[in-house]
């Protein structure tokens, strides 16, 4: 392998480049990046950056003295992956490679139907965050569609600025998929404690306003007045460019447990990929920062070894900051049959809970309680390592 093209210039792409160099790849390394910005950190876009307490320079993911020897192709998108790993680009040029890392990420799912030109926001990029930030003035009415992590973090940040916030959630229970119904409800209870109205089981049918949004229209015929709207209803993977490439696409690039796509010399990682999940028994996209970073090393090892390297990853992990509380999750709660509160009490305050299946801890969630949470995270890692060794 002499020449590798990484398609995607955000966290998964940059982490792949780092991992390739760390694992001894000395050949030519090209990074194709759609956004004009150099790689930046997205988690603060809904938190510190949105609040104005963190500047743009602090978002940079690259080190000033970092020497990765990369060739950057910025402001161009991949349009097709052709035979023999030829990446076709939007400026009409091609990049041929011995190895391709697909790390094209995801973009926000959009609300169907027409929307007023102004005041309706999504949050994924630096430019999105700048535009949303300009709307957050004390007393303004912000309606957030979707009570997931993006919605909850923006609600928390906006509230801190003195914005009036209403969160609308289509599901009867918030965060049920991410955290399970019981814990999801407890965590979402933070909204009410902090003066944010959360309405669940609410169906949005449209956005009112000629030029600028004025209200969110609901299926029951009522509407919620809005000076600005944030839509946070999930993401869809950027994989359309891979149609006809021979890769298996089904809600993401379908991969084995190690990022292999089944096509020689092509691996995929980050939000665009759906790796096999042995616990679930099917591929699953994992749209978290830590997954993009840690799995890059695994995917790159797969690429360099031709699929021979089999390293065991750590348990899944993500964090969120809401209303001054750090929320952390580790493990996989799928199929849990019991929730045990280990510290504090289940409710809209700080607590630590474990998810169990047949008595065995499979995941942990903490609101606050950082040191105790770390112990559970390490225990889960030990279990994953020993399970991995048994399988090997």
């Amino acid at each position: 392998v002499n020449r590798i093209v990484i398609v995607g210039g955000s966290l998964a792409g940059l982490s792949s480049a780092r991992a390739l160099r760390k694992q001894g790849f000395g050949g030519e390394l090209v990074v194709v990046a759609t956004e004009a910005h150099r790689p930046y950190d997205r988690p603060p876009l809904s938190k510190e950056f949105l609040a104005g307490t963190m500047g743009e320079a602090e978002l940079a993911l690259e080190g000033a003295e970092e020497q990765l020897d990369l060739t950057w192709r910025v402001g161009v998108s991949a349009t097709h992956l052709g035979p023999e790993r030829t990446v076709e680009l939007s400026d009409g040029t091609n990049e041929r490679a011995d190895g391709v890392v697909i790390a094209t990420g995801a973009r926000p799912r959009t609300l169907p139907g027409p929307a007023p030109a102004r005041g309706v926001h999504y949050l994924r990029t630096l430019d999105d965050a700048r535009a949303l930030r300009a709307e957050l003035r004390p007393g303004a009415r912000l309606v957030i569609i979707g009570a997931g992590f993006i919605g909850a973090e923006v609600a928390s940040t906006a509230r801190g600025i003195g914005v009036q916030v209403t969160v609308l959630e289509a599901a009867p229970q918030p965060l049920a998929g991410a955290l399970g119904p019981k814990i999801g409800a407890a965590v979402a209870g933070l909204h009410a404690v902090h003066g944010v109205e959360l309405r669940c089981g609410v169906s949005v049918v449209g956005l009112a306003g000629a030029n600028r949004v004025t209200a969110v229209e609901l299926a029951d015929g009522t509407s919620v007045p809005a000076d600005a709207v944030l839509v946070g209803i999930g993401v869809q993977p950027n994989v359309e460019w891979l149609a006809g490439s021979g890769l298996h696409l089904d809600g993401g690039v379908i991969c084995d447990e190690y990022g292999g796509t089944g096509v020689a010399g092509v691996v995929a990682v980050g939000d665009c990929s759906a790796w096999a999940d042995p616990m679930l028994g099917r591929p699953q996209r994992v749209e978290h920062w830590t997954a993009a970073r840690e799995r890059s090393a695994v995917a790159v090892a797969t690429l360099l070894s031709g699929g021979q390297d089999r390293r065991v990853g750590r348990p899944a992990y993500f964090w969120s900051d809401q209303y001054g509380h750090r929320i952390q999750f580790a493990g996989a709660h799928h199929g849990h049959d019991e929730v045990v509160v280990e510290a504090g009490a289940l409710g809209p305050q700080e607590f630590l809970a474990t998810y169990r299946r047949q008595g065995q801890v499979v995941a942990a969630l903490a609101v606050g309680h950082g040191p105790a949470f770390l112990k559970h995270r390490r225990e889960l890692a030990k279990m994953a390592t020993s399970a991995g060794q048994e399988m090997a």
């Binding site: 950190d41 993911l61 690259e62 080190g63 830590t290 970073r293 952390q328 040191p371 770390l374």
Partner: protein, 106 residues
């Protein structure tokens, strides 16, 4: 000199956070060695005492930058600046830290 805890109270692989200004994290590695560094990651507000300890390195729980407990050096971004290291003293089975007087972020 800041009192940390009794020597027996800090098991290998564990850490203590001191509510000093700025906060200090004290670690006992799996090999039994004691180290103290600034607790707050130089990148974002995260407690390194809640980080992942492996050998003589601790990894920030949020963004996975690793700090060397012996030197305070950081291995890879997003954190860019080293943390300060502090001297650890064990006297009569009690652990103490002598806080560095170096400027933060230097």
């Amino acid at each position: 000199m800041l009192f940390v805890c009794g020597a027996a109270e800090l098991a290998p692989g564990e850490a203590r956070r001191l509510d000093s200004e700025p906060p200090i994290a004290v670690f006992r590695t799996d090999d039994g060695e004691l180290f103290a560094i600034d607790d707050t990651c130089t990148h974002q507000d995260a407690s390194l005492a809640e980080g992942w300890l492996e050998g003589c390195e601790v990894e920030c729980p949020l963004h996975a930058s690793k700090f060397d407990l012996r030197t305070g050096a950081v291995d890879a971004p997003p954190a860019r600046l080293p943390v300060r290291t502090h001297e650890v003293v064990v006297d009569a089975d009690q652990i103490y830290v002598i806080a560095s007087t170096a400027a933060v972020g230097s």
